[in-house]
Amino acid sequence: MTERNAHFWKGGEQGELRLLRCKACRHWIHPPAPICPECLARDVAPETVSGRARVATFTVNHQPWIPGFDPPYLVAIVELVEQPGLRLTTNLVNCALDEARIDMPVRVTFEERDDVWIPLFEPERSEGGKRARGLDEVEPDSEGA
């Protein structure tokens, strides 16, 4: 962990998912880089996203690769609602293996592991426990909590 990525791995302590954002043109930047790829401004700083995303793709991994990761588990690439193409690789949790779907709305949750907070995603559920409304009803420019 470095000064450049600590916001990402530590934000979960406050329950927040933080990504770099350009102060000039407001473009989100991930993985972190000390320059905005759109306007080349060097003034970039972490901001908090809504934590809402949709599943761009997923896989059910059955192969044991690393001690401590017991298969099967869901690996996904999710796209955050803030910006087209703003993506993270992550795990889908609190989600049955056969429940995962591309385009499924998901929300960030965090798992404390040693001294970092790993951003994970779980299906959006309404208060009744049912799947939440579709993402087309979510404002894409939300600044989040």
Binding site: A56, N61, W65, I66, F69, V75, T89, N91
Partner: protein
């Protein structure tokens, strides 16, 4: 077509060590077998070799991922070099060959020896398969921090290209209706061809039922969608066309290369999750030649995972975007006797993970008519060899005039 530099280069010779599981042989030993064979195959002497290129350089990556570097090979053979280059930051494994082509075209060298050595099977013996870039078996606890792409994937147990490529395959299925039956055809075709290749690792017949009965690795991939780690070394000699004419074999002229990467250099940030760097490399290749995909007699396309060969078929324009599923369906079109014979040696899926160079080697074998039982009929004269997945991608179009 305006003059493109690669026309001044040709493949003049090829070599390959024994290829196998757990050979237990020294990586330099394997490398020397391949390199000396390639030099002799070209009708050259080691004193003629004045350039060396390799991917990914010496002892790079997890154990077994690479063999000796250029300095060790140079010293072992006491080569006198005008030019050399090796490293991992290239347009895929064949990027090293493209560099060699550029070097001879620019007059930096006359005959460049290119090689790629792996000994992953021996390295993994008893230790299980390490994920790409996981030092010492990985782990996510205190004291271990991933870097590079692994920083963003290892904390999620996505420690292998199997997982990363599976994510693309799944998205392709979602957008285009691609099926596992279609993925299977790449594996079944490879196995059919491997049955005719004495050096292939898996040669016994494979059926669709076998495929569906195999254990899953990372959906939609089962075991047979994933290549098999081996020990082995492959070498080719790239020569200046004017120096290659009077050598032992008819030169295989480099008609065009593809080395572009215009999307983000990433496994999870590429703009289109149904294709990869190969899209840009493939498009570039056809911008540099008047030949068209229909002119290609044989295609040797990277199949580290079955889906990658399908993505290369699309990237190289053998079918439309998203149409590789129907293209390979049933398997007849890509069979040895089909309209586009694919991975005629068995690919990495069945002939072994020689990591890119195996495809180039086989393209040359076919163009020289040395395929034996697996030789494509009709005197093939145009072949494409392509290697890489994710942010890696490089391809070559070879012609025997």
């Amino acid at each position: 077509m305006t003059d493109v530099f690669e026309r001044r280069a040709a493949i003049s010779g090829i070599g390959q060590s024994r290829v196998g599981r757990r050979l237990g042989r020294d990586a330099m030993d394997l490398t020397l077998d391949a390199c000396l064979e390639a030099i002799a195959d070209a009708g050259l002497d080691r004193r003629d070799i004045d350039g060396v290129a390799t991917y990914p350089g010496g002892w790079f990556g997890p154990r077994g991922f690479s063999g000796p570097g250029i300095p060790e090979l140079q010293d072992a053979l006491r080569l006198k070099l005008s030019w050399y280059a090796g490293g991992p930051e290239q347009p895929g494994q064949l990027g090293s060959v493209i560099e060699a082509i550029a070097a001879v075209a620019c007059g930096l060298a006359n005959h460049v020896l290119c090689f790629r050595t792996v000994w992953e099977s021996t390295a993994q013996c008893g230790g299980g398969r390490a994920g790409m870039g996981t030092p010492g078996g990985g782990g996510g606890g205190k004291g271990f921090r991933a870097s590079g792409i692994m920083e963003w994937t290892l904390p999620y147990g996505a420690a292998s290209a199997a997982v990363w490529v599976a994510l693309f395959a799944q998205r392709h299925m979602h957008e285009y209706g691609t099926t596992r039956e279609q993925l299977a055809q790449v594996a079944l075709n490879a196995r059919r061809n491997a049955g005719l290749n004495p050096k292939a690792i898996y040669r016994e017949p494979l059926t669709l039922d076998d495929y569906f009965a195999a254990r899953m690795i990372s959906t939609p991939f089962c075991l047979y969608d994933c290549d098999v780690p081996v020990d082995g070394s492959t070498a080719v000699v790239v020569s200046r066309t004017d120096r290659a004419r009077d050598l032992r074999r008819p030169p295989l002229r480099v008609e065009a290369v593809g080395s572009a990467l215009r999307g983000r250099p990433s496994w999870d940030q590429f703009d289109d999750l149904t294709t990869m760097a190969m899209r840009d490399a493939g498009a570039m290749l056809w911008q540099r030649t008047d030949l068209r995909p229909a002119d290609v007699d044989v295609a040797e396309l990277y199949d580290g995972f079955s889906f990658l060969a399908m993505a290369w078929l699309e990237a190289l324009g053998f079918c439309g975007k998203g149409e590789s599923g129907p293209f390979v369906a049933g398997g007849t079109r890509i069979a040895l006797a089909g309209e586009l014979p694919l991975n005629t040696h068995g690919g990495q899926l069945s002939a072994g993970r020689l990591h890119g160079y195996g495809f180039l080697h086989e393209a040359c074998v076919q163009l020289w008519g040395d395929g034996g039982e697996r030789q494509v009929r009709g005197d093939p004269r145009v072949a494409v060899a392509a290697a890489g997945g994710g942010p890696l991608g490089g391809c070559l179009l070879l012609v025997r005039d």
